[in-house]
Amino acid sequence: MEYIVKVFPQILDGLSITLGTFAITLILSVPLGVVIAMCRISKVKIVRNVSGIYTWVLRGTPLLLQIFLIFFGLPIIGVQLFGRLQSVYFAFVLNYAAYFAEIFRSGIQSIEKGQKEAAALLGMTPLQINLKIVMPQVIKRTLPSIGNEVITLIKDTSLVYAVGLAEIFKIAKSISTRDVTIIPYLVVGVIYLALTAIITQCINAAEKKVYYEE
């Protein structure tokens, strides 16, 4: 117990990177996902195809590979845009936007065409139809899938250790090697569980708020 009390604050030092990666990814990838979803159902074929290839590539390759390619690969070809942390954020946002885009696309396409037609005949503009009719229903229908992605995201943040960033998992690994014990891993496991418990509660509350029977 004494050992846990000793290592717990050390591990928590990495929480800012874990939560920072989580928050920035979520804040940026959701709106980007909406934009890509709109492109996926665009009437313009080239827009549809390009966004289709984007989601295929980003969902079809491991996130770790994408982090490596952005962090190590871009400088090799002369593109030096980001620092270590920014490269990680960039890779996470691009990757998660692809997943969110597919969730939103399926949500948007699940809304009956008749509802949009009924709204159009009431004189509503396409923007009003999207904001007042489509999106509220898409949010309700996609929240469970979004919740899954958000929980996966908090666990995926551990991948940033691969480029040397000291998030909670990386710190636990270092302590474990130093002290030759697996207790830091158990501590970090409990921290992830606590984080996912909080996220789950938030998602449940959100689902309850937007719930209606269809």
Binding site: G114, L121, Y212, E214
Partner: protein, 228 residues
């Protein structure tokens, strides 16, 4: 004349769905288009509402052209004009298409607030008055899933009528109704016409259209074959 359809043609790929359809609807008149499934009834109503574009022919609603035939094809005005003409139309769909995430009152007041830029209070007042008239005063805070088929249809009618359209179209209004509710619907449609609206009904329910309509146009294979 409230609605004038002249020489309307529509095809999907190689299939000719409408062929030289001509008819008119006057204010306070109830006209029914009667025909079997696949006869082209729904396509006519979709062309009238601008949900489908006609290949050839003209459609005029309350003196304004939704489309006008020129050089053998239907020409449409810009989107803003189409939006404007649509405001003269109401449509009650066969499956109602109520918005499930909104209450009955929100369904009805939506267009008043969003399209006609009425204040929420005024829109609610007008919507509640309309819903009370249709016997739905106690249902205003319920959601569509809590309503019966007949009640859903009345909400759909309220939603379409609250903005005072000149022409109200019904797509198979009795398809999901029991005989008692069908009888109520007949009375309601008559009342709406007496208040000045032109009504166009598409249906294959012969007894219903015979009771409710002033004129019946029989449609078969995309053509009007008979008028009674």
């Amino acid at each position: 004349m409230l609605l004038t359809v002249e020489g309307l043609y529509k095809s999907y790929k190689e299939v000719q769905v409408l062929e030289n359809v001509n008819f008119q609807v006057e204010p306070k008149e109830i006209v029914a288009l009667l025909g079997q499934s696949g006869a082209g009834k729904t396509t006519i109503i979709r062309c009238l509402t601008g949900l489908e574009k006609a290949d050839k022919g003209s459609i005029a609603i309350d003196g304004r052209y939704l489309c006008k035939e020129e050089n053998g094809q239907s020409l449409y005005p810009n989107k803003a004009t189409i939006f404007d003409i649509r405001k003269k139309l109401g449509m009650v769909f066969q499956s109602y298409h109520l918005f499930p995430h909104m209450t009955v009152l929100e369904n009805v007041s939506l267009a008043l607030i969003q399209v006609h830029k009425m204040s929420k209070e005024e829109a609610n007042r007008k919507s509640i008055a309309f819903l009370e008239k249709l016997g739905l005063g106690e249902k205003i805070n319920q959601r569509p899933f809590e309503l019966s088929g007949g009640q859903k249809q009345r909400v759909a009618i309220a939603r379409s009528c609250v903005t005072n359209p000149k022409l109200l179209c019904f797509d198979e209004p009795t398809a999901a109704l029991d005989p008692e509710t069908t009888k109520e619907m007949t009375g309601l449609i008559r009342e709406l016409a007496e208040e000045g609206m032109g009504i166009l009904i598409i249906s294959h329910d012969i007894p219903f259209v015979e009771k409710v309509s002033d004129r019946i146009l029989r449609i078969s294979a995309g053509k009007i074959v008979d008028e009674a």
